[in-house]
Symmetry: C2
Subunit: 220 residues, 2 copies
DNA sequence: ATAAATTTGTTGCTGTGGCAACAGCTTTTT
DNA sequence: AAAAAGCTGTTGCCACAGCAACAAATTTAT
């Protein structure tokens, strides 16, 4: 039996539960009718064109949302890990034809929840009003994330896509950023050809504007 | 003096007030501390990198949100008219550096509102709970709109961008769609070069897959 | 430890679409 | 009605990045 306690860390990271004390966490999850489910690597939680009944909260593992363009290239929307809420927009819109697919990249543990209970039921439970608040903020934040994606994809040159992407990543003290993907996956994130990406990264190093030792990069 | 009554039609179109009767509309607007302001053509409501204090509800006119890529091309995010709520995501996130600019394309009338009042104040006014519900749905819907934008920008070929865009527009009985932009503006929507767009539209007509008589188009 | 699978660098070829420039139209302004 | 501003079609040029193919390196599976 899997308990909430096992994943307290991920739950705490989730924006939806911000401001809700550890003691009330169980109540909140009960209120949302939370159900834990294992999802195996490479399993699709949402298929392209499919629908999703419930939003999910990722407790463990990594999940990726993506789609294909008309040339059948894979474009990654977002890769996320513990504490991430996904599928809210689909569920709230009652979308029948999902424009994205959602796939487990590793073995995952997901807490599925009935989001509607946050905003349709109208009692004045104090927990609910916190949840409402957090849900609104989550949605607004995801909006900005999507904006960022649009910004990357709007760049004309591959180099600009790389530069913008790198600027979003947090720098460590030496000014390096960690790339959380293989180069192949990075290409899918930036929506570019893999070998073209490799070539451009090489060029940038030749020109001296980029230092790159596998998985770590630094701009000048 | 401008009254709410003057713009009842636009207010009714706004998703935020769905399910709120005409009689209660004034109460709702009072609750949100609504203030009407004229915005002149070409005035910026949000500048790039700036911030926005209040969300706006467009009562009259047309507004466009856009940004520039690193090559200084103008990319249009969204053009909207009466009844549209904008700036929510910026306000809710408290964004200091707006990634987009918002500009009046025509002379506009805007109702600015204090969105926070919807979700921070915690009394159990029945109007508020409707507003909360609608705000959540609005945010989720905007999410899908952004998704659509990402989808267009992820296409490798100009033609695919055009095709996908056309498919989102509503067809009339003859299968024609109305293009609500000049070709120049359409190019900015699709994030492509204006003359390349013109060229490609020409090609498509030559190939017989598109019929186009100024402002109206039809696919085969 | 070995094999299998995946990732990465590299390179020649090629097509698409960006760019600039201009002429002809259309729309807006005065 | 005239002038100004903006939109559209067209064209030659060419760079960027997609593509395919392969070998080398790295990672994962058995």
């Amino acid at each position: 039996m899997i308990t909430n306690q096992d994943y307290l860390y991920s739950l705490r990271k989730c924006y939806l539960f911000e401001g809700i004390g550890d003691e009330q966490l169980s109540d909140a999850i009960k209120l949302l009718n939370g159900r834990i489910r294992k999802v195996e690597k490479d399993e699709f939680i949402v298929k392209l064109g499919g629908s999703l009944q419930n939003a999910g909260l990722l407790l463990k593992g990594r999940i990726e949302s993506s789609f294909q363009n008309e040339s059948f290239d894979q474009i990654t929307m977002h890769t996320f890990s513990g504490g991430y809420l996904f599928g809210e927009a689909l569920v709230i819109n009652g979308a029948k034809n999902s424009p994205v697919q959602v796939r487990a990249v590793e073995d995952c543990i997901v807490l599925f929840i009935d989001l509607e209970r946050i905003y349709t039921v109208t009692d004045d439970s104090p927990i609910r009003s916190v949840l409402v608040n957090n849900l609104i903020k989550s949605l607004a934040k995801k909006n900005l994330i999507l904006n960022q994606k649009v910004r990357i994809l709007s760049q004309k040159s591959l180099r600009d896509r790389i530069l913008i992407y790198l600027k979003t990543l947090p720098k460590d003290k030496d000014g390096y950023v960690k790339i959380p993907f293989t180069q192949t996956a990075l290409a899918e994130h930036l929506g570019v050809n893999r070998s073209a990406l490799s070539r451009e990264l090489g060029r940038m190093q030749d020109e001296g504007i980029l230092i790159s030792d596998s998985k770590r990069m630094k701009l000048n």
